[in-house]
């Protein structure tokens, strides 16, 4: 028996925790959020990913109550939250700057929200102790925020926003201020804490790696719209547009026109004097329609000799080699001038790398290796 996969968005019987219904937000003439509809389910770890200015922070601030909705409605557990001020929402936020109160100790920072609820002192003590334990901060309870490290501050901010046991926790670039190594460790910590507490997390980030690591679903945003919502592997392997494919990871885009070739198979005409590329696609394309083949570098293999029986093979010339330790990326220039990136894993420590600059090489990939996109 396998454990059931966590995917409430595929279950028609689940009711979402948060519903954005046709939400628009304008600042003067500027439209930050454009007629956006989206459901988020309980216990999800939902990531809003996009470049700065795409509206992800505005979405989060509307959930927290710091921005009002211009049009449409946002529901939390079935209720419209427009009229609820931020201090009465069962939503807490972890701020990008952490916003720790510099005049209060770690303990007092975590207790701040509990005290607002007028809880009895022993209850507060117990809850703060629990939070300190969860975030491994027991030793620092008496310190002031400026007396602890950046990573510890981040954990105080997390503990403070979780202390009230919110239905929904919003995290605004929670790891942005940490260095790379600490960030990777903390990502796993965040996931553990999210699982332990069973809280719904909505995270805003511009770091695609971070979103892919922590989230159950990722929403890629651009100019006030959500372009695609899917699980991390869904976003990576089946992007719905060139924008998403390009935003997440490295990709080669080959543009051309489609020509049907049996069920779910198309030929892509992409250059004069070039054999058409064979591509698999469940999305239908009409005859002669413009299309873009998005294909990840690691799905392309590179050889010196012409491969036999390849579904797609093109000859080119090595322009650049980037040795990254675990991987090597080859930039191959095709006769038409297009540059294709191909990646190989360096699985052996000592091996002769037979391919070098200016070498004529062959690159090949399968019909199912790439995704055929309309735009």
């Amino acid at each position: 028996m396998s454990t059931p996969v966590f995917a409430p968005w595929n279950d028609p019987n689940e009711t979402p925790l948060i519903r954005f219904k046709g939400v628009t937000k304008r600042f003067g003439d500027f439209t930050a959020i454009d007629d956006l509809t989206q459901d988020i389910y309980a216990k999800e770890f939902f990531a809003l990913l996009g470049p700065s200015g795409c509206g992800k922070t505005t979405m989060m601030r509307m959930l927290a109550g710091f921005e009002t909705v211009t049009k449409g409605r946002i529901e939390l557990a079935g209720q419209d939250i427009a009229a609820v001020p931020p201090n009465q929402r069962a939503v807490n936020m972890m701020f990008q700057s952490y916003a720790l109160f510099p005049h209060l100790s770690v303990y007092e920072n975590i207790a701040f929200g509990l005290r607002r609820d007028k809880l009895p002192k022993d209850k507060i003590d117990a809850r703060v102790a629990e939070m300190l334990k969860l975030t491994r901060l027991e030793k620092f309870a008496r310190r002031k925020p400026h007396q602890i490290s950046g990573g510890q501050r981040q954990r105080v901010a997390l503990a403070r926003s979780l202390a009230k046991g919110p239905k929904l926790l919003l995290l605004d670039e929670p790891l942005g201020a940490l260095d790379k190594k600490l960030r990777q460790e903390t990502q796993f910590e965040l996931m553990d804490i999210q699982e332990t507490t069973g809280t719904t997390f909505v995270i805003v980030t511009h770091d695609q790696e971070e979103a892919m690591t922590v989230a159950s679903r990722v929403a890629v945003m651009d100019e006030g719209r959500i372009i695609q919502v899917a699980t991390p592997d869904g976003i990576y392997e089946t992007p719905n547009s060139v924008y998403v494919a390009d935003f997440i990871g490295d990709v080669n885009i080959i543009s051309g026109t489609a020509k049907a070739n049996g069920k779910d198979q198309y030929f892509v005409d992409w250059g004069v004097n070039q054999a058409p590329i064979l591509a698999h696609s469940e999305r239908p394309f009409s005859e002669g329609q413009e299309c873009h083949l998005a294909i990840r570098p690691e799905k392309i293999s590179i050889t010196k000799e012409k491969p036999e029986e390849a579904e797609n093979a093109v000859q080119g010339k090595v322009l650049d080699i980037a040795y990254l330790g675990n991987l090597s990326t080859y930039h191959v220039e095709l006769p038409g001038g297009q540059i294709i990136k191909a990646q190989t894993a360096n699985t052996r420590r000592l091996s002769r790398r037979g391919i070098t600059w200016e070498d004529p090489v062959w690159i090949r990939w399968n019909a199912t290796a790439g995704v055929l996109l309309e735009h």
Binding site: N87, Q96, K164
Partner: protein, 291 residues
């Protein structure tokens, strides 16, 4: 050698024109009044031993016997304290609004706060005479609106002194509070609201504590000069307004009692040492917190 000259020149200047005069004040405060020029005894001409023997605490004893003096000290403290608090209540909302104003306005607002400081202190105090007098602008305005039927007597009372001090020292209160509030991260207020504070509790629990150093600095910057103030009580205050700066001035110029005037000055200085030391400590603590 050059280093020596660099240090010695300003050092000697300050010794000769700041420290030595003080010691003279201290010495004269221990001398007796005399009908001579200078009007005190003993002087350096009497020789060193006579100089020492001639000194006593008689003038300080005199200050305690005549209740004019301790009343003047107490009333100076009271006036300085009340006007400092009034300045805080007037200045804080202005500083707060400045810190919340759009970035591009702030430099202009700052300049508008500082500009009165560059104009003559005397003229700024003088401007209030025309406003507060019985037939002044304020009374004319209030009579016109019908809020009062008889002119209010404000000029030559302590109220006029409070208004004068608040008006002239307001920039000293606004600037340090503004500096503290401007540094504050807006997300702290949002965080407080997010954790369940209303606007008012967030202000009380976060904004006020974080601007504490600015408030303290501003209060000292108003309180210390207000305590020794002379121009404002003389121009706006009445005969009943007792402030020590005024008493000292009158003692010196009208009564020509130099020893008593010096004793008054020495005591004023002793009273001032406490707030000055406290102020220095606050500034130091702030500097350390920023470092």
């Amino acid at each position: 050698m050059r280093r020596f000259a660099l240090i010695a020149v300003p050092y000697a200047w300050l010794l000769a024109l700041f420290l030595v005069p003080f010691l003279i004040v201290f010495k004269i405060s221990l001398s007796d009044i005399a009908l001579a020029i200078p009007p005190y005894t003993p002087t350096v001409k009497d020789g060193f031993s006579a100089l020492i023997q001639g000194l006593d605490f008689e003038n300080f004893v005199f200050l305690t016997t005549d209740d004019l003096y301790y009343k003047a000290y107490l009333s100076s403290l009271q006036i300085a304290l009340i006007s400092t608090l009034l300045t805080l209540f007037v200045g804080y909302p202005i500083a707060y609004a400045m810190a919340r104003a759009p970035q591009e306005w702030r430099a202009t607002l700052m300049m508008l706060v500082i500009l009165p400081f560059w104009t003559s202190f005397l003229i700024r105090v003088y401007a209030w005479i025309g406003i507060l007098s019985n037939e002044g602008f304020l009374n004319q305005f209030l009579l016109w609106t019908g809020m009062i039927s008889d002119p209010l007597t404000i000029l030559n009372t302590n109220t006029a002194v409070y208004i004068g001090i608040v008006y002239t020292y307001l920039p000293f209160m606004i600037l340090p509070i503004y500096a503290a509030l401007e540094r504050m991260d807006d997300s702290l207020i949002e965080a407080a609201e997010d954790l369940g504070c209303s606007r008012l509790t967030a202000f009380w629990l976060v904004t006020i504590p974080l601007s504490r150093n600015g408030i303290i600095a501003g209060c000292f910057l108003v309180f210390i000069p207000a305590l020794g103030e002379f121009v404002i009580p003389s121009l706006l205050g009445g005969s009943g307004t007792l402030m020590i700066g005024k008493v000292l001035f009158e003692e010196f110029f009208n009564n020509r009692d130099w020893p008593v005037a010096s004793a008054v000055a020495v005591i004023l200085l002793l009273i001032l040492i406490i707030p000055i030391v406290l102020f220095q400590r606050n500034q130091q603590k702030q500097a350390e917190a920023e470092a």
